[in-house]
Assembly symmetry: D2
Homo-oligomer: 355 residues x 4
C-alpha cells in the first residue's frame, strides 16, 4: 500500500488479542483507514473460541460485531496477514516474533523481548523515525521486527525529544505515578490499590533508564552497517503504581546542555512535529506535545485523552534548583503508550514501504 488510500484495507493479525493491550489494538483498528483485522491469536486456552467470548472485554465500547464473531487462533507461526501486531507477554514473545519475521512477516511488537536487540528499531515515530533503517541489518529477508518502547518511556521520550533537538540534554531524573491498566488484567489486586500506592513496578525503572537512551540515540554508520549509539546522558527512574485507571504521570527534572528560558522550552514543545505529522499518518496526533496551562495540570483523568490519547500533555515547567528545569507529563499508557503507539509505528513502516 503506497499511501493512505486504496480500495481495500491491508489485512493485519493481532497476537495476544484477548489481553488488555490486545483489546486496545482491536478497538483502535476497528475503524482504521488502512488496516483491517484479519486474524486474532491468543493462548491455547482461548484458541478456537469466538473472540467476543474469549476476551473479558475491559473497554466501554464493545468490540465490533465482525471482530467479536471471529474465531481466536492459537499463537502459532502460520498466519495469513503479512503485517502482525504483537501484544504477547514477554515470556513468549521473543521466539514467536522471530519465527514470524523469518517467515516474512513484518512484526510490530509491544513486547520487550527484542527492544534492545542491536538490529531492532525501538520506535517513537516523531522522535526517531530514522531508526527504522536498522531493519536492513536483520536476518529476516523480507520479514522484520519493529518495537514500541515501554509505556512510560514513550511519554518521556516524546517530551524529551524536542529538548534534545533544541538544547541538548545532560541529565534526566524521572519519578512516575503509573496507572493500573499498565499491568494488564487482572494485574494489580484491588487490595493493593485501595487507600494505597505501591512504590515498585518490576523491571520498569530499568526499562526507563535504558530504553530512553536507545530511543534518543543516534544512528551511526559502522563497518557492519548502521547502528544506534545510545544517547550520552544518564536517566534515573523511580516508578510507582497509583489507583488510576489509565494515564501515567511523570515528574521530570532535566539539565539541558544549553541553558534555555522557560518560553523557549515551551516553544520547542509546541513547535515539535516529526515524520508522522509530515506524512499525515492516520493515527498521528496533530501536535505530539501539548503544553497544558494551569498550576495543577496535566492530570491523568483530565488530560490523558488529548488528541484521542495519542499526544503527550506537558505542564508545570519551572526552574529546578538542582537540574535547571522540571516539569510533569501525562500520557495515555494503553493508547499512545502501547496499542496506539504500535499502530503509528506500523503506519510509518507502511508509508516507508517496509510493508
Amino acid at each position: 500500500m503506497s499511501g493512505s488510500g486504496g480500495s481495500r484495507r491491508m489485512p493485519v493479525a493481532v497476537l495476544g488479542a484477548t489481553g488488555s493491550v490486545g483489546q486496545r489494538l482491536v478497538s483502535l483498528l476497528a475503524d482504521h483507514p488502512w488496516f483491517e483485522v484479519a486474524a486474532l491469536t491468543a493462548s491455547d486456552r482461548s484458541a478456537g473460541k469466538r473472540y467476543g467470548d474469549a476476551a473479558r472485554w475491559l473497554l466501554p465500547d464493545p468490540p465490533p460485531a465482525r471482530i467479536a464473531d471471529m474465531a481466536v487462533l492459537p499463537t502459532e507461526p502460520a498466519l495469513e496477514p503479512r503485517l502482525v501486531f504483537s501484544a504477547l507477554d514477554a515470556g513468549v514473545a521473543g521466539p514467536v516474533e522471530a519465527e514470524l519475521a523469518r517467515q516474512g512477516h513484518v512484526v510490530v511488537s509491544n513486547a520487550r523481548s527484542h527492544r534492545l536487540d542491536a538490529d531492532v528499531p525501538l520506535l517513537v515515530p516523531e522522535v526517531n523515525a530514522d531508526h527504522l533503517c536498522l531493519v536492513a541489518q536483520q536476518p529476516y529477508g523480507s520479514g522484520a521486527i519493529v518495537t514500541n518502547p515501554n509505556c512510560s518511556t514513550i511519554g518521556l521520550t516524546l517530551a524529551l525529544g524536542p529538548l534534545v533537538d533544541a538544547f541538548g540534554l545532560e541529565r534526566v531524573h524521572v519519578v512516575t505515578l503509573q496507572a493500573v491498566s499498565g499491568a494488564g488484567y487482572p494485574g494489580i489486586s484491588s487490595l493493593d490499590m485501595v487507600d494505597n500506592v505501591v512504590p515498585f513496578i518490576a523491571g520498569e525503572e530499568e526499562k526507563l533508564e535504558v530504553e530512553t537512551l536507545k530511543v534518543l540515540g543516534t544512528v551511526r554508520d559502522g563497518s557492519a552497517g548502521p547502528h544506534v549509539a545510545a544517547a550520552p546522558f544518564r536517566v534515573s527512574a523511580q516508578c510507582n503504581r497509583v489507583p488510576v485507571l489509565d494515564g501515567h504521570l511523570e515528574c521530570v527534572s532535566v539539565t539541558l546542555a544549553r541553558d534555555a528560558a522557560l518560553d523557549a522550552i515551551r516553544g520547542a514543545w509546541e513547535a515539535f512535529c516529526g515524520e508522522p505529522q509530515a506524512l499525515e499518518l492516520p493515527s498521528a496526533p496533530r501536535r505530539p506535545v501539548h503544553y497544558v496551562d494551569g498550576n495543577d495540570r496535566p492530570q491523568p483523568r483530565l488530560d490523558r485523552d488529548v488528541e484521542r490519547g495519542m499526544a503527550v500533555a506537558v505542564g508545570r515547567l519551572r526552574p529546578c534548583p538542582l537540574f535547571g528545569h522540571k516539569f510533569i507529563l501525562v500520557t495515555h499508557n494503553t493508547v499512545r503508550g502501547a496499542a496506539g503507539g504500535a499502530i503509528l509505528c506500523a503506519e510509518l513502516a507502511v508509508a516507508r514501504g517496509l510493508v
Copy 2:
C-alpha cells in the same frame, strides 16, 4: 513538671481543635501520661457548642466522653493552661500565637506562620533538639513559640538527619505522593481523587525546599545571640496528591558528601536515635527510622503506623545513576507529621524545663 510523673497531669489547651489536626491532637492527648486537655478552641461558628457536636469527627475511635462534653471556647487570648497546642489555620495563627506567647504561654504550633522566624525553633526533636535554644531570643519573657515543620518535611528530615550526621549531604531531590488527610476536611474533592492524582499542592514544594534546610541547619553563635545557619545544600521538590487516606510517600535521591556503602547507610538509619529516645519522652518512637525490607515497601497503608505512626519507614535504598543513592520513605502525615510531632516537641520543651 520536672520529669515524667507527678500526681497531676499538666493542663493543656488545643487551638483549632475541631479540624483534622486538632482532632488528632485530642485523640493522642486523651491518654497522655503528662498532659490533660483542659481547653479547646475553634472558630466563632463552633464556640459555645459541645465539642462532640462541633467537631465532625473523622477518626474511627470517638473522642473520650470527658472531652466530647467540654464546651468549645472562641480562639482568643484568654486561656488558663500555660501549654498551648496550635492547630490553627495559617490565615489566623500568626498574631494569635504571638499574643499568647506575650501573655506567657508556651505555644507549640503546627501552623506555618512562625516557622521561618529567626528566633523560632523549627523542631524535629530527634534531629535538632538543640534548636530549642532559639527561644531565648524571643521577646516573650516566660512565653515562647515552638514550631513543627510541614508534614512532608518531618518525614524527610527524620530520614536525612542520620545521613547528615554520618556522611554529610550535598543534594536532595524529592517527589512526594501525599495523602488527602494532609489537606484537612473537607479538603480535596472526591471528584479530583477518583481515577486521578493531582500533581500540585499549594505552597508545599516551597516548604519542603526551605524548611528542610532550617531543620537540618546548625546553631551558630552570633553577636546577637544564637541563630540557625541553614544547611548548605539544595533541595528540589515536586508534590503530588494521591487517593490515600493517611501516609505520605516520598521518593528521594541524595548525594552524600562522603561516599557510603548501602550497608553503612542502612546502619546509620537503624542506629539513629536522639534526645527523645535518650530522655524516654512518652511519645518518642523506640527507633525513629525503620528500614523495611521488601522490594515494594514501605507502602502507605501497610507502613504508616510503624511505632504508632511516630517513626518513619524507609526502604528501597539503592544506587542512583545521577545522585549516588535513592530510597523511599513513608510517614504518617497526621501523627508524626502533625499532631504527634507537635506533642513530641512539647514533651521535649517540658523535659528541658521550658514549661
Copy 3:
C-alpha cells in the same frame, strides 16, 4: 423552530453555568443541531469573568473556544434567549425560574424547586411526554416551567416505564449506589470516599419515593383542568454514595400487577420507545433501555456511556423471592440524569411547539 433544521440555531441561556451540571449542559450544547448557547449566568462571584476563567472545568474535553470566551452574566431576570436551561442550586432556583417564566421565558430546570408543583411537568420524555400539557395551567402566559427529575429517578423511571405499560406495577424497592458527580463540585470530600462508602444522601430517598410516582402518574382531567394523579404504588428507597465518578447503579425489586416471564419483561424493555424516538429528537437515544448480558453487568464504568449516556443499561433480571422480580440498572447521572435529560425535555418542548 418547527422541526430540526433551519439555517439558524435557536439561542439558549444556561443558568448556573459554572457548576458541574452547567458544564455538562455547555458541553452537550456545544454541537447541538437546534440550540446555540447565547448567554451564561452564574453567581455574583463569577459574573463579569470570562467563562473559561470562571468555571473550574471538570470534563476531559475543554469548553469550545467561543463559549470559553463569553462573559458570564449575573443570574438575573434579564436575558435575551427565550429558552433557558436552569442548573441553579435549589436554594435560589425557585423564585428566579418563576420570574423568568413570568417574563415569557420557557425554563427547563434541573433544580428540584418546582418539580412537585401541580402545574409543572416532571418530564422523562419517553415515559410521560403527555405531562407536558400541564403547562397550560401555569400562570405565566407565553412563559413556562418544565422540570427534569432527580438523577436517580430518571434512570429508575426509564426502566419502570415499560413495566408499567406492559404489566402494571404494585411495589418498588430500590437501593442506589450513586456516583460522586451527583453532588457537584467540590461536593463530597475525598476523606469520605477513600476506603469508604456513605450510606446517606440528604433528601435523595424522599425524592426517589415521591418523584417516581409523579413521573409514572396519569394525566386526568378535572374541573380545574388537567392534573397528574400519582401512580398508585409504593416506593422504598435507600441511597448510598460510592467512590465512582459518574454513573448511578440501582438495585431494584418489583412486584408486577400481572405476572410475567423473564423473557417478556426483557422484551418489554427492548421494544420500548417513546415520543423522542418517534419524533427523532436529536438527543434521543435510539433505544432508551438497553439490556446488558453478563452476570456482573451493567457496571458504572463500563455501561454509563451507552448511547452517549442517554440510555439506561439494565441487567441481572431474575426472580426475587419476595417481590417477584429483581434487576439492576446503571444510568449516567450527569448526562441522562441531568444535563442531557434537560436537553431532551427542551427538544420535546420545541417539537411540540411550546417554544
Copy 4:
C-alpha cells in the same frame, strides 16, 4: 480446658494459613489467652517454607516473630493439635475437614463446604449457641466439624437475631456493599474497582438467602435426634462489590411479625447479648450490636472496628413504606465475618467441653 486460664495454652492448627483469612487467624491468635498456634498449613507450593516468607502479608502489623519462623506444613491429615481452624478454599476444604474430624480433630471451619450439612452447626454464637448440639449427630466420634457462616450472613444474623427473639420476623430484603478483602488476595482486580462497583459476587446471594435461615432456625428433636428447622421467612439478597478495603455495608428492610416502635427495636439491639457474653469468652464483644447515631452512619471505614471488629454496627433505623422498617449495618468482614467469628465459635466449643 474448662475455663479460660491454665498455665499452658491449648495448641491449635491453622489450615490455609497463608491466605487472607488465614493471616487474620494468625494475627488474632497471636496474643490469644487460651490458644497458641502450633501448626500452620498451606498448599504444596508453600509447604516447607518459613511462614514469614510464604505468606504475602497483608496486614499492617507483621506476624509475631515466633510464628513467622515456623515452617509451613502441607495441608494433610496428620496434625498434632486437636483444635483446627480451617481457612481452606471451598474447593479443597470438604474432604480434608471430614478426614480430620474422623481422626478426632475438632475443626472450626470458615469454608462453605459443610455449612449446610444437616449435622453441622452453622454458628453465630450470640444467636444460636444451642445449635452446637448437632455435633452429637456427626459420625466422627470425638472429632467434630463446626462452621462459621459467610461474612455477610454473620453481620446480618447478628442484627436480625434480636428482632427474631423480640418481635418475630416475616420478610428480609438485603442489598450489600461488600469490601474487597472478602474475595481474598489477589481477589478482585484493581481494574474492576477504580471508578467502579461490581454488582455481582459469585454464590453470595444464594448464601445469604439460605444460610440466614439456618442460623436463625430452631433446634427440633426428631426420631433421628436433634436437627435444625430453617427459619420460616424469606430472604432476598443483591450483593455488590465496592472499593472498600474492609467492612461490609448491608441495607436491610424487614417486616416484623409484631409491630414495634423504633425505640423498642433499638432497645432490643442494645439489650441483646448471648452465651459468649454470659460465658465471658475472650473474643466476645461486650455488646454484639451497637446502634450508631448520625444520619450517615455506620460507615465502613469509621465503624468496622467497633469492639475490635467483633460487634456489628447498626444505624439509620426508620420506617420502610413497603416492609415496615429499614436500617443499615456494617460488619468487619475478615474479623467478625471470618477469622474472629471462627475463633469465637472455637471458644464456645471449648467452654462447652467439646474440645
